[in-house]
């Protein structure tokens, strides 16, 4: 039908557009001819339009069940819910490639629009983004074309992986893919500015794009863990699976990067280090794409084995080697006039934090690819599971959190250790006392107490800072309205800092949630017959009955539980499990009861013929803090991205 050939044509046209664009920009830079640069930009705009068009074509192909396209036949079926046909196009290898091409083209559009034509660092950045875009597009249109015609047209398609039939599917995969792809933008800005001999690395633009990328990556991680928690039926949110690791590693490096460019902004230092971090982050992002697309590591999430992974690996090596050679070649020009003056200064602590983040990323990378090495040496498949990562990464991450509660309140340049301790010890003691009181109320584990200490230590300092600003504004203006206006004005003039502080509080909440579920969570399996009941802590539950419904493509088994807490009845709740014979796959929907911070979680695993069933029952304390915290992190980061038009009269806060 029409969709296949139209989409194929459009995608190849867009490839042509981008190839023209890259040549035009090359000529434009070489001869300093703005006409060529202008036409390159127009071609890129048009490429964005064409890619959007081909995405729409694919979506329409899905919605209209056009099984003459092989990809549609493989990833949708007549019985799948209508709403999912709109998004099924990114559920497979080929479609997701088209999706990331389109996303990148939109990012490129946003990046180059309204930029000065004669700004060479922008032009070089444009060139590097185009290189990556062309690589992706060649992969899409030649190696894994979603519009390939089906050899024989079927009446009904294969359908979609049942685990994807969930609301999480609407949000998590696209955000995650967008995040991994978006890393190319800050990378290209940094390398491009260096090519244009702009040693400042085009800092403002770089910072904003790095933050935007980071926000997308953070959102992707948070949504992914939420999805895992609600749909995968094992009651956890993070399993240190290779694909999860591959999305975590770029996040770790981007986190390091957005902090270290702050040092460059304030103190004009660490340029070489920043460049190293962003090159490495881009490397990790490509590593993530490689592992996703049929890399050698077994994982629950990957797109199935495709040879495309190796193409990504090749591109990754070429781009990384090129970047590092270029980096070494230009290293001397990145020297700084300032230097780290004291161990206890903000730049020094940020450097420590950077190194720790880098260590976590490298350790995670090593753990992820270790099985590949042993397989090639010993010819024995082994796995590196969470035991390794928990034992090794958790202490380093805790150390990072401790630094987080100290660093933002240490001055730049220099500070005296003994006077620092003098100033902060009271706050620290108050934080410890609060934490112990708090932990005592919820009868917390000592790691939870330590998390509380870090949270309070940081929060009290933040509150003191706000109090000081409030005090200065009230000292200046006696009138309440004016003083409040002044207060908001001060906050506004330093949004990036206060946004950052909000994010920090959020990440500490996440940490508290993780500590709570890891060290205070209880889980137990219960084998129950209908009518029997079990008890876990202060919850009693009675297994009432099972409802089995036969749908066209799956069998749904629903178990009904009567749940009491502290002897009080809470009503009936269900957990269901659907079996999809076509995929030989189960999708579990757990019953989750939320009580403020604590979750009561139950899911069924095995149901025998006499309706007796095994239930996994868990109590997850503080678990909702993970997603609340992640939300706070994203809000804080969004606040710090807001561009501030600084007024001339800068306000100094004592």
């Amino acid at each position: 039908m029409i969709y296949g050939s139209l989409g194929d044509l459009v995608i190849k046209l867009s490839l042509g557009m981008y190839i023209y664009s890259i040549f035009a920009i090359f000529i434009g830079i070489k001869y300093q001819d703005l006409k060529f640069i202008y036409s390159a930009r127009l071609a890129s705009y048009f490429g964005t339009f064409l890619l959007l068009l081909s995405t729409i074509t694919l979506v329409l192909g899905f919605v209209n069940h056009d099984y003459s396209i092989q990809y549609v036949a493989d990833h949708s079926s007549n019985t799948m819910p209508y709403i999912y046909t709109w998004i099924a196009f990114y559920s497979g290898n080929e479609g997701s490639l088209l999706f990331i091409c389109t996303c990148l083209s939109i990012l490129l559009f946003l990046f180059i629009q309204n930029k000065k034509l004669n700004d060479n660092s922008i032009n070089f950045s444009h060139l590097f983004i185009l290189l990556f875009q062309i690589f992706l597009l060649i992969s899409t249109s030649v190696l894994a074309n979603p519009f390939t015609e089906a050899s024989n047209i079927v009446k009904d398609g294969q359908g979609i992986n049942p685990l994807l039939l969930h609301f999480g599917m609407f949000v998590h995969p696209p955000v995650q893919m967008l995040g991994l792809t978006a890393v190319v933008v800050p990378f290209s800005i940094a390398i491009g500015s260096l090519c244009a001999k702009n040693e400042n690395l085009n800092l403002n633009s770089l910072r904003i794009w790095a933050l935007v990328t980071w926000i997308i990556l953070t959102t992707g991680l948070a949504l992914g863990s939420w999805w895992a928690y609600t749909i995968l039926g094992w009651g956890g949110y993070w399993a240190w699976d290779p694909v999860e690791n591959s999305s975590l590693m770029p996040w770790l490096l981007m986190t390091a990067f957005i902090h270290s460019i702050m040092v460059q902004k304030k103190r004009n230092m660490f340029k070489g280090w920043n460049l190293f971090l962003i090159i490495f982050a881009f490397f990790m992002a490509q590593m993530g794409m490689f592992i996703n697309r049929g890399g050698p590591v077994p994982s629950v999430h990957s797109f199935g084995s495709s040879s495309l992974g190796w193409t990504f690996l090749l591109f990754m090596f070429v781009s990384t080697i090129f970047s590092f050679v270029f980096f070494i070649y230009r290293y001397r020009s990145l020297a700084s006039v300032n230097y780290v003056q004291s161990v206890l200064s903000r730049e020094s602590l940020i450097l420590v934090q950077n190194v720790l983040f880098l260590s976590v990323a490298i350790i995670t990378l090593m753990g992820t690819i270790y099985p590949v090495f042993t397989k090639s040496i010993e010819d024995e498949q082994i796995y590196v599971g969470r035991e390794f990562y928990d034992l090794v990464n958790a202490p380093i991450l805790l150390l990072i959190m401790i630094i987080l509660s100290i660093a933002p309140f240490v001055p730049w340049k220099n500070s005296n250790i003994s006077s620092y301790i003098n100033k902060k010890i009271i706050i620290f003691v108050i934080a410890v006392l609060f934490a112990i009181l708090n932990s005592w109320i919820i009868s917390g584990h000592y790691w939870v107490t330590i998390s509380f200490v870090v949270l309070y230590f940081s929060s009290i300092q933040i509150l003191i800072e706000f109090y000081k600003i409030l005090k200065t504004s009230f000292n200046k203006f006696k009138n309440l309205r004016n003083a409040l206006f002044k207060f908001l004005n001060i906050l506004y003039s330093n949004l990036s800092r206060y946004g950052g502080l909000i994010s920090h509080t959020g990440i500490l909440l996440v940490m508290l949630g993780i500590a709570g579920t890891s060290f205070m969570g209880i889980e137990k399996d219960f084998a129950l017959k209908p009518g029997q009941s079990g008890t876990l802590k202060n919850y009693q539950f009675t297994y009432l009955k099972t409802d089995i419904t036969q749908k066209s493509d799956h069998t749904n088994i629903k178990a009904v539980m009567q749940i009491d807490k502290n002897g009080k009845s809470l009503g009936e709740y269900t957990t269901s499990k659907s079996y999809y014979p076509r995929f030989d796959m189960n999708s579990t929907k757990a019953g989750i009861l939320n009580f403020g911070l604590e979750d009561f979680y139950f899911s069924q695993s095995v149901i025998s013929d006499d309706n007796s069933a095994v239930f996994e029952v868990k109590i997850n304390p503080l678990v909702s803090l993970i997603w609340t915290g992640a939300f706070v992190v994203v809000v804080g980061a969004l606040i710090s991205v807001i561009p501030v038009h600084k007024k001339k009269d800068k306000v100094k806060i004592k």
């Binding site: 599971g385 035991e387 390794f388 410890v432 095994v614």
Partner: protein, 134 residues
């Protein structure tokens, strides 16, 4: 200086105070079972432990481990029995011995390297710029 000692005293006492055991209603054997479940991989899933996976094999393995714990086998004995039966791929994470010790040494190497990076950045930036200023 006296003040410091008072603060330190408060901190030490309070931290020591929170090292009490949390009553979580599980018996010792149940905790052992939970821990072992997280260390044994489901033989037919791509990357899930038997604690996470819902397959029948995992349930059988769980029951087997429970039985052996009740019979009084030690964790190591259960693990080595499973390794002899399924091979090393039954473990979710390699043990800290033999050739797999290398995996556990990697983090130490990385951290030492990290300290090195910190010092080299700290120092070179310092010296070079001081030289330039002179």
């Amino acid at each position: 200086m006296n003040n410091y000692f008072i603060y330190l005293f408060i901190i030490v006492i309070s931290i020591a105070g929170c090292f009490y055991n949390v009553d979580n209603d599980l018996t010792n054997n149940e905790i052992r079972l939970l821990n072992l479940e997280k260390q044994i991989k489901c033989p037919i899933c791509p990357a899930e432990t038997i604690a996470e996976s819902n397959t029948k094999v995992s349930k059988d393995l769980k029951n087997f481990i429970k039985l052996k714990i009740d019979e009084g086998w030690s964790d190591d004995k259960i693990k080595s029995f499973l390794i002899s039966k399924y091979g090393k791929e039954i473990l979710a994470t390699p043990q800290k011995k033999g050739s797999d010790l290398f995996l556990w040494i990697i983090p130490i190497i990385v951290l030492i390297f990290g300290v090195f990076i910190y010092w080299s950045l700290y120092k070179t930036i310092r010296f070079r710029t001081k030289g330039e200023q002179n």
